[in-house]
């Protein structure tokens, strides 16, 4: 049994910070993922470091306003530099982003080392996985009831306030400019022609990403930022085909990862008798796991759905092939299939007659074997066991089979008459096309091999 250790003093603000950071990055990430700019989040989250350091060096102050200014400028500079490298260096966007952000990050690290700003806890380590533990609230009330008071508001740490404001602004940005962001992501040329400058929207988005990054950064670190810019949006994309739903889902998923990952960071190791792990890392991991679950089990795009669909299809094809073969066998046996009697000698499996030369039971992938098809056909009442053990079509089975054979032979007729294929080349194609549903009510009465079209 995993107990959930939640201590208001130790866990409330760190968890709140993690959830707010996850939500702000999650909502903005949608448009990065859709524009295939996922790496841009990576780039900006790394290159805000020199922006922060330079802003600090210039002003010697650590107010949020200065930090945000520095980060936003660094964000825009990243975008401009990426464009420049792309254009002048003639490299692909991914390479341009990679070059720019690694250089800027390195510059930030060097600046920190050289300018000896270590004492203001801006070091490369905390950049990666944040300092959630510094948000602990030592004079916290012991019960939830006591939380509802004005003193609580005073106790809220600066980082959490900044994150809350950022999160609200990011969500407001996406809600208010939803239409504009959508058209700029889908068709930048049209957006500009319609009077919504795609370049302006691009830079606006990047400024918001930079702001979310720097707000999240101090508390939760850049690993979480990068994961949250990509994972919730990518997961949500797999669950829906509507952008509006995708945006809402991405926020829900980000919050889920935030809460789940934070709790798992202490609960899972505790259950295994180990010390708790870094919450930011654990949250990123949960977001990644959610993505894996969506890849496997999404109702519309998931691997399981695809497999099930393929199986259902191959089953249907096997069933179709079985009853069509029975129909053909009956047809060859007697000119009037309604008077078809069970063959005197027992037949374990219906063998296709020599006339349709390539009619065989090929085993399609996904379990559509003839044996299973036969069982399914019996269950559906299309086929019954004959006296000698062979299979005989029932009335409804014969109807279905006649329609199938009709489609097959109509296709053969079409392929020979209209598409100009020689008669001995058309069976394979017709074998595929016969499974498509509709067939015309009237048409030719014989196929290219001279057999009647039922």
């Amino acid at each position: 049994m995993i107990s959930i250790p939640f201590n208001i003093g130790l866990d409330l603000f760190p968890m709140l910070a993690a959830v707010l950071a996850a939500a702000s990055c999650g909502v903005l990430g949608n448009f990065l993922v859709l524009r295939r700019l996922s790496l841009m989040g990576d780039a900006i989250s790394h290159s805000v470091l020199p922006g922060l350091v330079i802003a600090f060096l210039l002003t010697q102050a650590r107010s949020p306003v200065v930090m945000f200014g520095g980060a936003a400028l660094a964000g825009v500079a990243t975008v401009v530099l990426v464009e420049l490298v792309k254009k002048l260096g003639r490299v692909e966007p991914g390479a341009a982003m990679g070059v720019v952000f690694s250089l800027l990050f390195a510059l930030g690290v060097l600046l920190i080392e050289q300018a000896a700003v270590r004492h203001v806890d801006l070091d490369a380590d905390c950049v990666l996985h944040g300092q959630l533990e510094t948000l602990a609230w030592y004079s916290a009330p012991a019960t939830w009831g006591e939380l509802v008071s004005w003193q609580t508001l005073d106790a809220v740490p600066r980082q959490v306030v900044v994150l809350a404001v950022t999160c609200a602004l990011a969500i407001a940005f996406v809600v208010v400019l939803f239409k504009e962001l959508r058209i700029a992501a889908f068709d930048p040329g049209l957006a500009t022609a319609q009077g919504y400058s795609a370049t302006l929207l691009h830079y606006l988005l990047m400024v918001f990403v930079a702001a979310a990054t720097v707000a999240a950064f101090e508390a939760v670190g850049s690993i979480l930022v990068i994961a949250m810019l990509i994972c919730p949006a990518a997961t949500a994309r797999l669950l829906t085909d509507r952008l509006r739903t995708q945006v809402v889902l991405s926020v829900v998923l980000a919050v889920m990862s935030g809460v789940g990952g934070y709790i798992a960071a202490s609960a899972v190791p505790a259950a295994l008798g180990k010390d708790s792990v870094n919450a930011a890392g654990s949250i990123a991991l949960v977001a990644g796991l959610l993505l894996v679950v969506a890849i496997v089990a999404s109702p519309s795009h998931g691997l399981v759905t695809k497999m099930l669909r393929q199986r259902a299809l191959s089953r249907r094809v096997a069933l179709d092939d079985l009853i069509a073969a029975l129909y053909r066998a009956a047809e060859v046996g007697t000119s009037d299939p309604t008077r078809q009697q069970p063959q005197p000698q027992p037949r374990p499996q219906p063998r296709p007659q020599p006339r349709p030369p390539t009619q065989t039971f090929r085993t399609p992938r996904g379990g559509g074997t003839p044996r299973r098809a036969a069982r399914l056909a019996v269950r559906r009442g299309l086929v019954r066991q004959g006296d000698g053990g062979g299979l005989i079509l029932t009335e409804s089975g014969r109807e279905l089979a006649a329609a199938l054979v009709r489609r097959h032979r109509l296709w053969e007729r079409y392929l020979v008459d209209r598409a100009g294929l020689p008669p001995d080349h058309v069976h394979e194609t017709a074998e595929l096309l016969e499974h498509l549903k509709p067939s015309p009510a009237d048409g030719p009465t014989t196929d290219p091999h001279g057999r009647p079209i039922p």
Partner: protein
Amino acid sequence: MTAATRQASTTTAATLAARPEHSPESPLSIHAMTVAYHRKPVLWDVDYDAPSNQLIAIVGPNGAGKSTLIKACLGLVPRASGQVEFWGLSYRQARSRIGYVPQRESVDWDFPVSALDVVCMGRYRMIGWCRPVSRRHRQAALACLDRVGMRDYAHRQISQLSGGQQQRVFLARALAQEADLYFMDEPFAGVDAATERAIVDVLRDLRETGKTVVVVHHDLQTVPEYFDHVILLNMRVVAAGPVEAVFTNDNLHKTYGGRLTLLSEAAEAIARAAKGEG
């Protein structure tokens, strides 16, 4: 870039109107336009005045600069030199009256939007910043989908449409813009017969309602049937004018067969020389 273009467009407004060969009534006047990619010229010194209320085809071999001509007019690729005006106005001033149907491959069809969402995008200019798509605009978009025979597919996600259906969605989006001048980049490329008919019907509809349409077209067979006016293009304008006057074997030969003719002339010369010796 914006300041520069604005300045350029105000100066062109003065110069082009003063030129006798360009009329301010023409929906599209191109003067001495040259376009280069990476310093390599793609279009040389294009001069053209589009007649109003006509269906105009741009025809020419691969790499002749057909799409580039359209994109340069719309400012989507930079012009090395020359001026373009629409009814005597700059693109910026005339933008609301101009619709554009890009090539189908220009967007990501996996994008999570429905056909109706895409058509609604054609009306964003009328809707304005920060306001949601109202019912009225959605109805108008549905009517445009209806005109191209795609109303039943309005709520399909766009990746679930066939190529021809996607092309028709693009066409509906252009219709939703309610422009007076349309540019279409290869709308007939790789479409099925039903889509081709739908596009032709829409083109004729547009002409009847007084619009001008400029279409990049690749099928020479259908030019006389579908279009009134034709621009034969091969890096420069070989000939332009009414189809019956301009769309001649001679002009087509000049457009498509320049190099071929030179080679066949050379081959004949060699043959003559060989005969003379023998």
